[in-house]
């Protein structure tokens, strides 16, 4: 159904329901707008987009929301229209500060453009200036509301897309302004969508402030490094200096979606962190800088010795998944084929890799690529596990877009109130520690199998009515897409099994939690079914003698750092090949500095399955080399494959699923501390599901480590801006618990578990189950990590003002 009309005499068509503005765009006719943002619903506030219909002269029609109708004969530049636009601009310019020379927006300011286009040179009116707040205290975003034209784009984008509603109009009439409640500093997601929406210089990027002028910037397209969604971004370069990050335009010409990490986390790659100038070696005499030849020679010799003596199985690899797909193929060739190693794992992406591995085995075909549009097309979005939008913050606006559709259902099964849970049409809360068991039961029930306990919802803390609706939605006619979300440090195996068992009913299954190129690494076969928990046990038992770290750092990103440190000290060889000198680099025998993805060329595969080729957009630091280059060089130097050397122990098997020892009893800290011996054979049965240790009088709370919006991965941890927003270890607890302990917002409290104690900043949230507390920002924080044990979804904890015994 199309509507045919004329714009300035040009015949054009738009789909029925399309606006006059859209029709004008199709006809390449310019209509001035200020409050129009294609990403959000129109509001019709600026009244600049007025046009006239020749059939009804004198009547001005706002084109940004008026639907085009058949036979309209629109004029956009008649004297009446132009006079109205000029008058509107004059009114807007009353008390708009003319500080363009110091305004960061100058050069890309919509108002500036309009004033020049319509030749407003006189200012016929004067009015007293109304009160407008200026906020220079908020991190990252500066609000100078004296420049605000009250178009409301920030208000709408924050509420409609980011779902925060941090900004709102205050007062009314001529005294209207945009502010936070109580005129406080911003306390939001800092996604910066408001900055991208502001047509003038009222909301600006603090990192960019007074650094350069916009017209000096060159925009280079690449992918964001902070998670596996690989959002398209523009690096705004002044020469070779990165000044800021923006999003490229979408199909409507507005900026694409971006989160706080993408927009403000770029200083992790440029500017903030001192990158190591060259490789170094550590031997009996201590640490010394080395040339690349020395370092590679040492590394290749030691690797050959260990692999020669004990077989390739004695070498394990941890990757932060920052390799390009091509590099991952090289790495696979080197470690698996050449060395014969069968332990290739990740820390941040461990959950994702495990989900992918399970689905790979359980599904008849691998999950097909799912673009963002595919997700929006589903009728029912089933999210298994909490933290989807925390792993990948761009899911927030994306899912909000999804929710705006008619009749869309969002089911979130989670044991904590994450972002999506709070916005679900059907939130299913499961008591912490019961999530795995519940999903296994749900799967059994859906498959028509007998469940030992019956599907006893109340035992799991689940509302029975919701459960009924969940089952009816899953068995209904709607098109279902499933997002499978891993826990931060626990193995959640039942959710993959549940997703796989639904595959015939489901259009798309999308595992989340992947890092920059996790999916690319998996597609290149640079993976193993065993994760670091298994590797750690093998190191402790002496089976693994060498650990090759590619970016990843187990001392910064795995529970119980003391245990990890002790294990690492037993290694014969610890090689750290990374863009940053993290904690493990200091302990490594060899450190090899590498380049970041922006500094090299290659392709990446997002968790959605979309492949993208990235060009080199930044110059690499002089001492660093590409990961692929290093591994190829090592292989060249090692010559013969060590597999041909005598004494090689047979590998456990490439897939590693058979012949593994039995799993430790679940949830038992003793078993975990003693070291898990392999991974469970039957990953779906409740016996193996990850539970939680029960709280006790000494430790009355259940502490659940959850992913952070501000990023827990290697790159995010390097960003001073993101670290600042995190503000150290955080704990979020139920309002009543919070009040019972008589705590103050953001006060520092002691969090103690049977394994350790750490100071953390506390906040309260009404929707958290009483007795449950969330632990934020533990990755990268040794004290925080010492509170936890791996493979446990929740640990008992005490929270209070004084240090716990």
């Amino acid at each position: 159904m199309y509507v045919k009309l004329k714009i300035n005499g040009i015949e054009t068509t738009v789909p029925k329901g399309g606006t006059i503005l859209a029709a004008a765009k199709a006809a390449s006719v310019y209509i001035p707008t200020l409050c129009h943002d294609p990403r959000v619903a129109p509001t019709g506030a600026c009244r600049l987009c007025v046009v006239e219909d020749r059939r009804r002269p004198g009547q001005l029609i706002p084109s940004c929301f008026t639907p085009a109708r058949d036979g309209m004969d629109i004029v956009t530049d008649s004297p009446v229209v132009t006079a109205a636009i000029r008058e509107q601009l004059k009114l807007i310019l009353i008390n708009h500060p003319l500080d363009c020379p110091v305004c960061d927006k100058a050069g890309e300011c919509v108002l500036q453009e309009l004033v020049i286009r319509y030749g407003i040179v006189e200012a016929p009116y004067t009015l007293e200036a109304p009160f407008r707040p200026v906020d220079r205290e908020s991190p990252l975003i500066e609000r100078d509301m004296t420049r605000c034209v009250l178009c409301g784009r920030c208000v709408r984008i924050c509420a409609e897309l980011q779902g925060k509603g941090e900004l709102e109009f205050m007062r009314r009439g001529y005294g209207t302004y945009v502010d936070t409640d109580g005129s406080r500093a911003l306390d939001c997601d800092f996604c910066g969508l408001c900055i991208s929406a502001c047509p003038v210089g009222a909301l600006t990027d603090k990192l960019f402030k007074n650094t350069t002028r916009p017209w000096k910037l060159e925009r280079r397209e690449t992918a964001c490094l902070h998670c596996g969604l690989d959002c398209r971004i523009y690096l705004n370069m002044e020469g070779e200096i990165l000044r800021r990050v923006t999003a490229p335009p979408d199909k409507d010409g507005a900026e694409e979606l971006l989160c706080v990490r993408g927009r403000f986390g770029w200083r992790a790659a440029a500017g903030a962190v001192r990158r190591p100038p060259g490789p170094w070696l550590r031997d009996a005499r201590g640490r010394r800088d080395a040339t690349w030849e020395e370092a590679l020679d040492f590394a290749s010799r030691r690797l050959a010795e260990i692999a020669g003596e004990r077989g390739g199985g004695a070498v394990a690899v941890l990757t932060a998944d920052l390799l390009t797909t091509e590099e991952a193929a090289v790495a696979r060739g080197f470690f698996r084929t050449f060395l014969g190693s069968h332990d290739i794992a990740s820390l941040q992406a461990a959950g994702y890799r495990r989900l992918m591995d399970q689905l790979d085995r359980m599904l008849p075909s691998p999950p097909p690529p799912a673009s963002q549009e595919d997700l929006l097309a589903a009728d029912v979005l089933l999210v298994l596990g909490g933290g989807a939008a925390e792993w990948h913050p761009v899911l927030k606006p994306l899912i909000n877009r999804y929710r705006q559709g008619e009749g869309k259902e969002l089911i979130v099964i989670s044991s904590w109130p994450d972002y999506l849970f709070e916005r679900a049409t059907l939130p299913v809360a499961v008591a912490p520690g019961h999530l795995e068991g519940f999903m296994a039961e749900l799967q059994a029930a859906l498959e028509g199998r007998e469940v030992a306990s019956g599907l006893d919802a109340s035992r799991r803390g689940i509302d029975v009515g919701r459960l009924a609706r969940l089952v009816s939605l899953l068995q209904g006619q709607g098109e279902i897409a499933v997002l499978v979300v891993p826990d931060l440090y626990a193995r959640g195996d039942a959710r993959a099994a549940l997703a796989a068992s639904l595959h015939h009913r489901v259009q798309r299954i999308l595992p989340l939690g992947g890092q920059f190129n996790s999916r690319g690494a998996l597609s290149a076969g640079f993976a193993s079914p065993r994760d670091f928990q298994d590797i750690l046990a093998d190191i402790e038992m002496g089976r693994i003698r060498s650990l090759y770290l590619i970016g990843e750092d187990p001392l910064e990103d795995f529970p119980d750092p003391q245990r990890v440190r002790a294990a690492l000290s037993r290694l014969d060889l610890l090689i750290c090949q990374a863009p940053y000198a993290t904690t493990a680099a200091e302990a490594a025998h060899v450190f090899l500095p590498t380049v970041l993805p922006w500094e090299k060329e290659g392709s990446v595969l997002a968790v959605t399955g979309q492949r993208r080729h990235l060009r080199k957009v930044m110059t690499a630091p002089p001492g660093a080399r590409g990961d692929g280059e290093i591994l190829e060089e090592l292989r060249r130097m090692m010559g013969d494959p060590p597999a041909n050397l005598p004494g090689r122990v047979a590998a456990v098997g490439e897939t590693g699923s058979s012949g593994s020892p039995a799993a430790p009893p679940p949830g038992s800290p003793a078993a975990t501390a003693a070291g898990g011996r392999g991974f469970p054979e039957d990953r779906t049965s409740e016996a193996n599901a990850v539970g939680a240790e029960a709280p006790s009088p000494a430790f009355p709370f259940l502490l659940v480590p959850v992913p952070s919006l501000f990023g827990d991965g290697l790159v995010s941890r390097q960003s001073p801006e993101l670290a600042g927003l995190k503000g150290g270890l955080g704990v979020v607890m139920n309002n009543d618990d919070f009040a019972a302990l008589n705590l103050k917002d953001r006060e520092t409290v002691w969090v103690a578990t049977p394994y350790g104690a750490a100071p953390a900043r506390v906040r309260a949230l009404a929707r958290i189950r009483p007795g449950t507390a969330l632990l934020l920002h533990a990755p990268g924080n040794p004290e925080g990590l010492s509170l936890l044990r791996s493979d446990v979804a929740a640990v008992p904890a005490a929270i209070g003002r004084k240090e716990a015994p």
Binding site: R47, Q88, L150, E168, R172
Partner: protein, 595 residues
């Protein structure tokens, strides 16, 4: 004649309470107790018994004789006096203000005799809190008829036949609105009653909600049945505590009796009503802003399309009507659309309730058939201009309405006739002004109101109105320049043509209509720096006009700062250095001798 009295109705309206803070109910209860009639004579709380300028009033039923409660002192004797007076064919205690004629009963007063009551038919006759009394007066009979013998389409057909147009101001045909809301198949649907009456000087809706809340409820339930809605909201401004109380009681009673809730009257139709108190923003009377406000957000008008009948409250089809519109519905269903159509004019059928205020003798609620001319309303029902002043202008339709002159008094009041001369029916506020009003000042007052109440969303209303206000203030301060009038007119047209909602589009009306009919006053302000009505204090010279002054010395007596001196037989002298320009002398002078 105590035996003839079965009930005493007393006015509990805000107006009466403001006039004299007497607890009439308490007073009557105590006194009746004392006299031993407490058992036999019931009390009825009601709203607006007679022109509000004389309250608080009480009415004896049956018979309808009205008396004033002037003081609490010796009320026992007073009441006994009232009872005695009932024996007389006329009431010596209440006289018609103009003629001083004694009034036998309420129906013989001009103020009431010329009215035709449909919406206000129960006012003063029933206790608004008693559902039984409402039922006894044919209450819920319309609903019964609709549910038992009419299909929803027939109900809509009846409303369409009646020609009823929305009483909130825009005059959109109610039947068509219902039909549209019925057409969309998205559930649940909503019915909203707009009780956010915010025009200065308008109190029609408040009175209806206070005195006859069940009529509003019944109209809403019928609307819900016709459109397929199951949930209703009444948006009442929180400044109407009595209306809120009455509605809450009415909803509770209606639920008890099964007029609200599940399976109403055994018909299988479900409907319930909630009250949403508004927080006092004028713009929330705009229907889309009202719905946004009910959703708990900041009340600002949203873009249309979609119309709210397609996607209104929470994106669902919503039928929003004014209090008065709903109050008409039960009668239309009961008596049929053709009965209603016969009242009023061809295009504007039925009656309209006006709140008559300003410089008229009888201030109060007036319900007349559509098409009654302004002269009848102001001079016959309203009793003419108060005091010895002359009629100057009448302002219709609230802050967004226009000011009309004596030349327009012959105009029949209908939706279209008013539009033609630059005024609007609006919600029905009529403010009558005498010659002591300066039209520039009046325009400034209404513009100030709109500036204060603009939601701030769109540019012309937010900034343009402020610019207009600045120009008006400039003129009032005596700094007006000749080109300011052109500028005012240009800005007004700009705001009219480019504003988003009705508030902005109509806000320049007071300025435009006064510029049209009272341009000479503007010109006097600008060219002669003179305010003909002697209102704009900066243009007053505070001089004694020797031609008019009778040397009475009254002005000297009222001067609060002793800035005037006078000796018998002499002209008073004004000492400018002491004068604070409070205009007390000007108001006091009966001969208009001070300029």
């Amino acid at each position: 004649m105590i035996s003839s009295v079965s009930r005493i109705a007393y006015c509990a309206s805000t107006t009466c309470k403001f006039r004299k803070p007497i607890d009439v109910r308490g007073l009557l209860t105590r006194t009746l107790e004392e006299l031993g009639y407490a058992e036999r004579i019931g009390l009825v709380e009601t709203e607006c018994l007679i022109s509000c300028h004389q309250g608080p009033s009480i009415m004896f039923l049956p018979g309808g004789k009205v008396f004033q409660v002037r003081t609490e002192e010796n009320f026992t004797e007073t009441l006994q006096g009232f009872f005695a007076a009932l024996q007389h064919p006329t009431s010596p205690l209440l006289s018609e203000p103009r003629t001083k004629k004694e009034i036998p009963g309420i129906e013989s007063v001009d103020f009431f005799a010329k009215q035709r009551l449909i919406v206000l038919r129960n006012r003063g006759h029933i206790d608004g809190e008693s559902i039984e009394e409402y039922i006894a007066h044919d209450g819920y009979l319309g609903l019964y008829k609709a549910l038992t013998s009419l299909t929803p389409e027939e109900v809509i057909g009846e409303v369409k036949t009646s020609g009823l147009r929305g009483r909130g101001g825009a005059g959109f045909p109610t039947g068509r609105k219902w039909e549209e809301a019925r057409r969309y198949r998205a559930y649940p649907k909503y019915v909203i009653c707009n009780g956010d009456e915010g025009d200065p000087g308008a109190f029609m809706d408040r009175s209806v909600m206070e005195s006859d809340p069940h009529a509003v409820l019944e109209g809403m339930i019928i609307c819900g049945y016709a459109t397929g809605a199951t949930q209703g909201y009444i948006y009442v401004r929180a400044e109407y505590p009595l209306a809120l109380r009455m509605l809450r009681t009415a909803i509770a009673r209606a639920r008890e009796k099964g007029f609200l809730g599940r399976n109403i009257l055994g018909s299988g139709f479900d409907f319930d009503v909630h009250i949403y108190p508004g927080a006092g923003a004028f713009v929330c009377g705009e229907s889309s802003a009202l719905m946004v406000s009910v959703e708990g957000k900041r009340g600002m008008p949203r873009t249309k399309p979609p119309r709210s009948t397609e996607a209104g409250l929470w994106g669902r089809p919503t039928c929003l009507n004014n209090v008065e519109t709903f109050a008409n519905i039960p009668q239309i269903i009961l008596h049929g659309g053709n009965w209603f159509r016969a009242i009023g004019t061809e295009d504007s059928t039925g009656t309209k309730v006006f709140s008559l205020t300003g410089a008229v003798k009888n201030v109060g609620l007036v319900e007349t058939p559509m098409g009654t001319d302004l002269r009848t309303i102001i001079f016959e029902i309203g009793g003419g201009i108060r005091g010895n002043a002359r009629f100057k202008a009448v302002q219709l339709g609230g802050p967004a309405g226009g000011c009309l002159t004596e030349d327009h008094l012959h105009l029949p009041v209908t939706f279209d006739s008013l539009q033609e001369v630059g005024a609007i029916m609006g919600s029905g506020g009529i403010v009558v002004m005498d010659d002591s009003n300066c039209m520039v000042d009046v325009a400034r007052f209404f513009t100030q109101f709109c500036v204060d109440e603009s939601c701030g969303k769109c540019v012309p209303c937010r900034v343009g109105l402020r610019v207009m206000l600045g120009l008006l203030e400039k003129i009032i301060l005596g700094r007006g320049e000749p080109e300011d009038l052109g500028e005012l007119e240009r800005q007004a047209r700009h705001i009219q043509t480019t504003s988003h909602c009705g508030l902005g589009q109509a806000a320049p009306n007071p300025v435009l209509s006064t510029l049209r009919y009272f341009r000479d006053e503007y010109e006097a302000h600008i060219h002669e720096k003179r305010c003909p009505a002697r209102v704009c204090v900066d243009l007053l010279r505070f001089e004694i006009d020797p031609d008019k002054c009778r040397k009475c010395g009254l002005c000297v007596k009222v001067c609060p700062v002793g800035a005037m001196t006078w000796q018998k037989g002499e002209y008073p002298v004004i000492h400018r250095d002491l004068c604070i320009r409070c205009k007390s002398c000007i108001r006091a002078c009966k001969f208009k001798a001070i300029n």
